[in-house]
Symmetry: C2
Subunit: 162 residues, 2 copies
DNA sequence: CTTATACGGTACCAAATTAGTCCCCTATTG
DNA sequence: CAATAGGGGACTAATTTGGTACCGTATAAG
């Protein structure tokens, strides 16, 4: 139930690209263009790995690439229109918790005598919906200042806790 | 985004245990007791592997074990009160899509300069809720004969759904 | 009390997957 | 033409996963 580290990195980077650039240059109208090298420098992830990720994201239609000098990547769409499900699917293949969902049969060697073939679809669908409901824009927001456990602690009388 | 094969098997077996036994013996009142060897035979999964799974599930309090002759496993609770989230957590550890959720910090080496630490929690929570909403009882039902889209059609008054 | 049954725990190994690297090609700018 | 920057694919090392083996302990039957 843990997703690949690369997928995690990809989301971090996409959020980074999607975030409005510090410098308000001529790119104001369109979306920001960032090179793989920049991403590597900003994120600490090694360049070859970043490059690999970007390629995959571009193939999936999440990033638009521009080759040649002055080239780079930019979001293919507004961050509000890119979902987590999409990103994950781009990097890890279709969201399928088990081998027998998605209609694809024959992947599981015991599926003929398995009395539950169809039931996983419920879970799968629930998860996919959850992942569809979160967009890249949601991930670009400033992280909430209060960690989960501190919810109660933050309500202490001394703290002015919203 | 794929869960372990073992987790899949575990759910299949749990559903199998939870299903009302063909033979209505003295166990009618309590829950059915099944040995690891039986499970292995029924499922095709090799015995040592089954045993390992059962152990884990017993430790997690999902199965109750009875040692000695005539021993075996049975569900610790009614299938309606066992959630997918619980089963998955028992076998794969707490549900945490990335290294920086659940409050556990320091697992990710770049989390200090990652501008999104808290945001994954949203996704994580969404997934966990989705998994909490499905119980073992839901997984024990006969797989629906109709593919997902037929959900509305299945509610027709005319069909007595057999 | 002895024996057969069946779970409990741990250590271990092999296969599969993942993360990361390398190298060369193609496109674009100037 | 030279410099930049992505595209593609093969390759390797590290980690995780799936599966096995062995020995100990509890319990019921006889
Ligand atoms: S057929 Fe059964 S064992 Fe195979 S993937 Fe589906 S649920 Fe799992
Ligand atoms: S801190 Fe950032 S990079 Fe690290 S696990 Fe969390 S989201 Fe991913």
């Amino acid at each position: 139930m843990r997703l690949n580290r690369l997928t995690d990195y990809a989301v971090v980077m996409l959020a980074h690209i999607g975030r409005p650039g510090r410098e308000s240059g001529p790119e104001a109208g369109g979306r920001r263009v960032v090179t793989a090298a920049e991403m590597a420098a900003d994120s600490g992830v090694p360049l070859p790995t970043v490059a690999k990720l970007m390629k995959l994201l571009a193939q999936a239609g999440i990033l638009a690439s521009q080759r040649g000098a002055l080239g780079g990547y930019r979001l293919a769409r507004a961050p509000e229109r890119i979902t987590m499900a999409e990103i994950i699917a781009a990097l890890e293949g279709p969201i399928a918790l088990t081998a027998c969902v998605d209609g694809r049969e024959g992947d599981c060697e015991v599926e003929s005598l398995c009395p539950m073939r169809g039931n996983w679809d419920k879970v799968n669908r629930a998860v996919r919906q959850a992942l569809d409901a979160v967009t890249l824009a949601d991930m670009s927001l400033e992280p909430q200042r209060f960690p989960p456990v501190a919810a109660a602690a933050a309500a202490r009388p001394v703290a002015q806790a919203s």
